[in-house]
């Protein structure tokens, strides 16, 4: 035994202090992310938008303007044009005399709901399908992979339009449509990663220990998939938000009475020469939100995989 002790002594690297709990990959990634200024600003922006959306009713109460209330007296000028930003209407009113600020906050609820829910759905189903296809392989995988290729080669706006035409507009349908396409992207990535990890020796090691396939997939593979899945999910959210806004802009998204950034922008096209705020504020909000999610997603990618090519090299 003396030999073993001696050799273990020799192998203890002096640089490593024997901390009881080592820093996990997540902790390290979080520390890297904290050093990434653009990502942290984006995270803060996203938090503010989420808070604004959550407390939208509070703002409605403070201003006394409900999201659907029309104020022909105070919201419109005597000539019937929308009033500009001021103390009554913080960001002005729209063509029907509704409070733009309050409507934008309620619109944020729709955008975030659609963005997050559809991505969540897509992630759960995409991960399960991708893992099963990649892990089991065979003809199931062959059919599935080809199917995903076909789904991904179709322009999803067009498919969404046909579906809306057949089934009618609405938030649930929109979430399902977006989730379906995001699902295909997610499943393809997860499948590729699973196939790569399947060949690694630790999966064989698990098998040699008698682990079931299910246990191998969820205990051994899943932790390795979290990084790419997180990155893709954070990039799918802004795509979903833009998609919702686009469909609503085309009049095919949510119910036209529901305040949604896309629908508000569609309304603005007739009025922006007299009320440019009607165009500028929702457009800016949409741009800031998607940019923040994209920057955060990029930051997460860098933090999780420091070797990857940074789209925005900051140092």
């Amino acid at each position: 035994m003396s030999l073993i002790e001696a050799s273990s002594e020799a192998e203890h690297t002096p640089g490593i202090t024997p901390a009881v709990r080592g820093k996990g990959p997540w902790q390290l990634a979080w520390e890297r992310l904290q050093r990434d200024r653009a990502a942290m600003v984006s995270l803060a922006v996203i938090c503010v938008i989420v808070l604004l959306a959550v407390f939208a009713p509070v703002f409605a109460a403070v201003t006394g303007h409900g999201p659907q209330d029309q104020f022909p007296e105070t919201g419109l000028t005597p000539e019937g044009l929308p009033v500009g930003p001021g103390s009554g209407f913080w960001l002005g009113a729209d063509s029907l005399g509704r409070d733009l600020f309050v409507r934008l906050l309620y619109g944020a609820r729709v955008s975030l709901l659609v963005g997050v829910l559809s991505t969540l759905l897509a992630t759960v189903f995409g991960v399960v399908t991708g893992m099963l296809a990649g892990f089991y392989g065979g003809w199931v995988d062959g059919v599935l992979a080809r199917l995903l290729d076909v789904v991904l080669s179709f322009p999803y706006l067009l498919v969404a339009i046909v579906l809306v035409a057949a089934l009618g507009a609405g938030v649930p349908l929109m979430i399902l449509v977006i989730a379906f396409f995001s699902f295909a992207a997610m499943a393809r990535v997860v499948r590729g990663q699973t196939m790569a990890y399947k060949e690694r020796e630790f999966v064989e090691a698990a098998r040699s220990l008698g682990a079931s396939k299910l246990r191998t997939m969820f205990v051994d593979l899943l932790p390795n998939l979290v990084a790419p899945v997180t990155v893709l999910a954070s990039l799918l959210i802004p795509t979903a938000i833009v998609f919702e806004a686009t469909l609503s802009f085309l009049g095919l998204g949510v119910d036209p009475r529901t305040p949604s950034w896309g629908a508000i922008l569609a309304d603005s096209t007739d009025y922006y020469r007299v009320a440019p705020g009607l165009l500028i504020f929702p457009a800016l909000l949409l741009l800031i939100t998607t940019l923040a999610f994209n920057l955060l997603g990029d930051g997460i990618r860098d933090a999780l995989d420091p070797r990857s090519d940074r789209l925005l090299s900051r140092k």
């Binding site: 035994m1 030999l3 073993i4 002790e5 050799s7 273990s8 020799a10 192998e11 203890h12 690297t13 490593i16 024997p18 009881v20 709990r21 080592g22 996990g24 990959p25 690694r200 020796e201 630790f202 064989e204 090691a205 698990a206 098998r207 040699s208 220990l209 008698g210 682990a211 246990r215 205990v219 051994d220 932790p223 390795n224 979290v226």
Partner: protein, 315 residues
Amino acid sequence: MTALLRVNDVRKYFPIKEGLLIRREVGRVHAVDGVTLEVQPGETLGIVGESGCGKSTLARCIAGLHEVTSGSIEYHGLDRSRGQIQMIFQDPYGSLNPRRRVGSIIADPLVIHRSGTPAERRNRVRELMELVGLNPEHYNRFPAEFSGGQRQRIGIARALALRPRLIVCDEPVSALDVSIQAQVINLLKDLQSELGLTYVFIAHDLSVVRYVSDRVAVMYLGKVVEIAPAEQLYRSPQHPYTNALLSAASVADPDLAAKRERILLTGDVPSPILPPPACRFHPRCPKAAPRCSAEEPLLLGEDHRTACHYPGVMI
């Protein structure tokens, strides 16, 4: 003494499939092609050969990771379902899941086989880490925080968790620095005498095999060409292939090196898809005679068995 393990005429073929829609079998890789051998309790059986000779496949068949194509493997008093056969893998980087803590990796076999309470498992993991010369305080660290040698100790601890009787070591030190190799090999030897383990030890480094093995089997293109007690095999190799292997290796014993003639192998290892008929070594054999390409030599002899029509030291 009854054998612990008996391998009877085991064959393992891997089908090669082609075609996009309908995949037909167009050929087979004859990875292991009729191997018969025994492993005695408490001994170390070394298996050597060039890469692609089927030694790793044979190891995986013994560990139960591959179904054999034909033939049988009899276990005497070994219960695979109770984890009495374990495996140590070649790549200390690939065989440990990078996203899991070391403690949970070592506890894996205990969890899979539902052995003990969580508290008992924790104690067992600490015990095992101490046994293989690791600091038990480090059980919460990740594999990336350990050196290659330490990682291989983690793999050994994992293999020991269920108190196995047979451990299949698949080139356990070939990925390590030479200075670390000796430490890991000595650990394996100490564990063997302490715990009464039996090893099947795969390697391509002849000097490592000679040091650890009681008996050595030499494989060429899926077949055992010579099997003998280690010292005997190294002192008086009978098969020309063994001879060639030994003369290619650096020898620490100058007397022996002087006595031995250097035999250089010409040509490449033939494809295991279409192995040469009769004696598989005849296309590269310096002693090949007409009989060698017509009639397959059998593995003959008592303790020292050779599959060659013209055995003996090179003239």
